[in-house]
Assembly symmetry: C2
Homo-oligomer: 101 residues x 2
Amino acid sequence: MQIIHVHVSVKPEFIEAFKQATIENARNSVKEPGIAHFDVLQQIDNPTKFILVEIYKTAGAPGAHKETAHYKLWRDAVMKMMSEPRQGIKYVNIFPGDENS
Amino acid sequence: MQIIHVHVSVKPEFIEAFKQATIENARNSVKEPGIAHFDVLQQIDNPTKFILVEIYKTAGAPGAHKETAHYKLWRDAVMKMMSEPRQGIKYVNIFPGDENS
């Protein structure tokens, strides 16, 4: 299991457009065989801050995701919406372990 | 659904002790009726950084969690292990919505 939290800062005027584009990407992403979860979170005390919580089943799944049409559409659509480059941080799951996932 | 990411920075010499104490807390926390998820993540490129991903079912559940014996035991045990005060950030789930949780 591979866990990536992608932190995105969005320009205030694009918050709603970013949400719509990202929901569409997430809806398609969860259909990919290598993706276990693709959650989209918005920070309550700062609605310009989002996290995409991406949980992949295999080592090759993140690369496969970046080759999909829905990812490329999202990537291009949100480019102008972000106030700074997004940042992906990788995590290992300590609890629960993979046996419970 | 209430989502809190608790960011914890741990002194290097306490990484293993923190993991054990936090796994024990998580094992007990997931038995609480108000808790949907209680995941523990360790950052891959900086193993002193952890996130507790806490997902609560009701508005009262976070308060109830802080009254449990296992939370108080964890809170006291990890006090000396942290290199700075921990920080909780609250999120709302944009995708999936509560209907899918």
